[in-house]
């Protein structure tokens, strides 16, 4: 019999302390209420256990290989500048005109701009820290109060205590933002990057928003602890596109939640491409009667990338509609987990919920798990789900190759086609092109 030696590895927290919270707050000369909120969040953080694979939501998602030594040290600005961000990630979204661009490098604001058009409309789009001073009432009313409270989970609490940067988007009542806005979180060094996105749309407002998080592959483990809050008022319309392309040693832990009001529409599209490890909670709360929420994802882990997308579509009011379409391609030894829940509260009659996760396995060593779920407490609803995993069939490749396409190109065409239903939901052509280019690089890469 062989002796098996087990390295006892714990689900250890990053080596951060209350002193770090105080330092972060002081460094930016924050208002008292915010400092207070941070310290309360820190207390909640300390009271919460680190999630382990004993927890249902984390059962397939083990992060014990993270090196908190590098990934748990707060990332401080390293002299990174706007120009460090790759040009394609800071190009205007439509033609030459820019609605607004807010960009951070290693947590430091390097670009904080809103165009004249949107400013004249009364749209606020800026660095969240600045907003906490200049628009304190708005920020205070919405930050961590409605969508992702600090006690949501260990990482949400950590974020609430220690976030170093964030972007704030506010569209006043009845305003249809004439141009899309764009924000970028970029990292140049390993460390803990802690960022927030806060979007507030008042009644009848509408806007398109692209948010990007990315880094090159870093020299050691890095982490992104993120919170995203999308608050869509009655009759408002938000189209939110979130692209993630972290370097191959970044671990992301994020909580993202939208609250959707009466007759409001949320169209949420995400592209998940990078990172070493991803655990993202993405949730839609359909709070008002007639609310509509759609969540779409395109994900493509390769190599040994691991992605866990954990979704909820919560129907909290009658006549609400949710639609989820996730499409993933997996290559090499990549792994993906999708667990999705549709919930309908007792009063949520005439709700219509749908979810589908479809994955394409491109290598024998890749694996995807789909765990759909329904929790229906209303009796007059229609909630359905679908999940399918497949490969590129030989017949399909043969057919395409018989027209002269080399194998690699035939595969690319099939994968592109597979992603098209999600890509078609992205309103920015250059973003679609970038994603397709990324898919191509991944497919052709060894």
């Amino acid at each position: 019999m062989t002796t098996r030696r087990r390295v006892a590895r714990e689900f250890t927290p990053p080596p951060l302390t209350r002193a770090d919270v105080e330092a972060v707050s002081k460094q930016y000369d924050e208002p008292i209420w915010l400092r207070q909120a941070r310290l309360e969040a820190w207390a909640q953080y300390e009271a919460l256990p680190m999630p382990t694979t004993q927890d249902e939501a984390w059962r397939r998602t083990d992060y014990r290989h993270i090196d908190w030594g590098s990934a748990g040290a707060l990332l401080s600005p390293n002299g990174g500048a706007f120009d460090d961000i790759p040009p394609e990630n800071r190009d205007p979204l439509l033609g030459e005109e820019r609605g607004g661009l807010v960009a951070f490098v290693d947590g430091k604001p390097v670009h904080d701009e809103i165009g004249e058009v949107l400013a004249a409309q009364g749209v606020i789009f800026m660095d969240l820290r600045r907003a906490a001073r200049e628009h304190a009432d708005l920020v205070r009313a919405h930050l961590g109060t409605r969508a992702v409270p600090p006690d949501e989970g260990k990482f949400a609490a950590l974020n609430a205590a220690l976030w170093t940067h964030g972007v704030f988007l506010y569209v006043p009542r009845g305003v249809q933002a004439a141009l899309p806005v764009h924000s970028v979180f970029y990292a140049t060094h390993p460390g803990a990057l802690i960022g927030r996105v806060l979007v507030v749309l008042e009644e009848g407002a509408s806007v398109d928003f692209l948010h990007e998080t990315l880094s090159p592959t870093l020299g050691a483990d890095g982490s992104y602890i993120g919170v995203t809050e999308l608050i869509v008022g009655d009759d408002a319309r938000l189209r939110y596109v979130a692209l993630q392309d972290w370097g191959l040693n970044v671990f992301e832990f994020s909580h993202q939640r939208a609250r959707v009001g009466r007759d409001a529409r949320l169209d949420w599209i995400t592209g998940q491409m990078g990172g070493k490890f991803l655990k993202a909670f993405m949730e839609i709360e359909l709070d008002g009667e007639g609310a509509w929420g759609r969540m779409s994802a395109l994900y493509f882990p390769a190599d040994t990338q691991f992605m866990d997308l954990d979704t909820q579509q919560n129907h909290n009011a009658p006549h609400t509609t949710s639609d989820l379409l996730f499409k993933g391609a997996l290559k090499d030894h990549a792994r993906s987990v999708w667990q999705g829940m549709i919930k309908a509260l007792p009063g949520a009659q005439k709700t219509d919920g749908f979810q589908a996760n479809r994955t394409m396995i491109l290598s024998r060593g890749a694996r995807s798990d789909s765990i759909p779920g329904l929790e229906i407490q209303a009796n007059d609803v229609r909630c359905t789900h679908a999940a399918a995993t497949g490969q590129i069939e030989d017949e399909v490749l043969y057919y395409l190759m018989s027209r002269g396409l080399p194998r690699a190109e035939a595969e690319k065409l099939v994968v592109d086609g597979f992603f098209v239903p999600v890509l078609d939901r992205i309103p920015f052509e250059n973003v679609r092109e970038r994603l397709l280019a990324h898919v191509e690089r991944k497919l052709l890469g060894a």
């Binding site: 043969y398 057919y399 190759m401 018989s402 027209r403 002269g404 065409l413 086609g417 098209v420």
Partner: protein
């Protein structure tokens, strides 16, 4: 120089089971041949083997294209040499439009000839595609639909001929292109093939069960396949003989060892 497809003593197995047992057949550019035979005789196995389907294993014999054995080549290489197969059951490619696919197919050819090629320009491509679609009386909206996805049987066959018209092969195999087509669609598809035959001397090997399509695309040579061999080769009169007498006389002839 005109191309020749020459099949010599071809033996093919699928999952270890022999299907073709010594096929000999030569089609030259400019010629039209028909290949007939009962179900299961090996006609589709032959067409897929010529095109390079990975499930068909050549255990003996050769397939020569312009004198070069293509048995070891991938389907795309065969295609770029000038071979084409109009599929009996075209595969659906969701998310890939007819136009996008055709452009990729054209560019793959151009790139193989010249690695520096930047691909066909969009206006040039559109003109070409619209022209071909018009001759096949296809609605413009067809170009924007996903390839074979939700197509009717007739639309699939027309899409096959559209691909053939765009790629302009030297030799095309049409595998039961006539099945599932009404008489109008059949005429359009047949005219499409004939135009290529006349204009660029495309050689045609047409696999069919019925005389119908052969009234439009008149073969010079008719082959009959049974049990994985070509058992009879003759002129167009053979088609009528089959229509009248079926295959029984050939089976008898076979069992008599003639």
């Amino acid at each position: 120089m005109s191309a020749t497809l020459e099949i010599r003593n071809l033996h093919v197995s699928v999952e270890g089971k022999p299907i073709l047992r010594g096929v000999n057949l030569t089609v030259r550019q400019g010629e039209i041949h028909a290949l007939m035979g009962p179900n299961g005789s090996g006609k589709s196995t032959l067409s897929n083997t010529v095109m390079g389907h990975p499930a068909y294993e050549v255990t003996e014999g050769e397939i020569l294209f312009d004198g070069v054995d293509i048995v070891g080549l991938e389907p795309d290489e065969r295609s770029r040499l000038g071979l084409f197969l109009a599929f009996q059951y075209p595969v659906a490619i969701p998310g890939v439009t007819v136009a996008n696919f055709l452009r990729h197919a054209i560019n793959a050819r151009r790139k193989a000839e010249n690695p520096e090629d930047k691909g066909i320009s969009i206006p040039e491509f559109r003109k070409l595609m619209m022209e071909k679609m018009e001759t096949l009386r296809m609605d413009r909206s067809f170009a924007g639909r996903y390839l074979n996805d939700g197509f009717s049987g007739g639309e699939k066959k027309r899409a096959e001929i559209l691909q053939m018209a765009v790629l302009e092969p030297k030799i095309a195999i049409m595998d039961e292109t006539d099945s599932g087509l009404d008489i109008d669609a059949l005429r359009i598809v047949a005219e499409g093939a004939l135009t290529l035959h006349e204009r660029i001397e495309m050689g045609i090997l047409i696999i069919t069960h019925y005389q119908r399509i052969l009234n439009y695309i008149r073969p010079q040579v008719v082959h009959i396949m049974m049990d994985g061999r070509i058992v009879e080769t003759g002129g167009p009169e053979l088609v009528e003989h089959l229509e009248e007498h079926g295959y029984d006389w050939l089976r008898e002839k076979q069992s008599n060892g003639a």
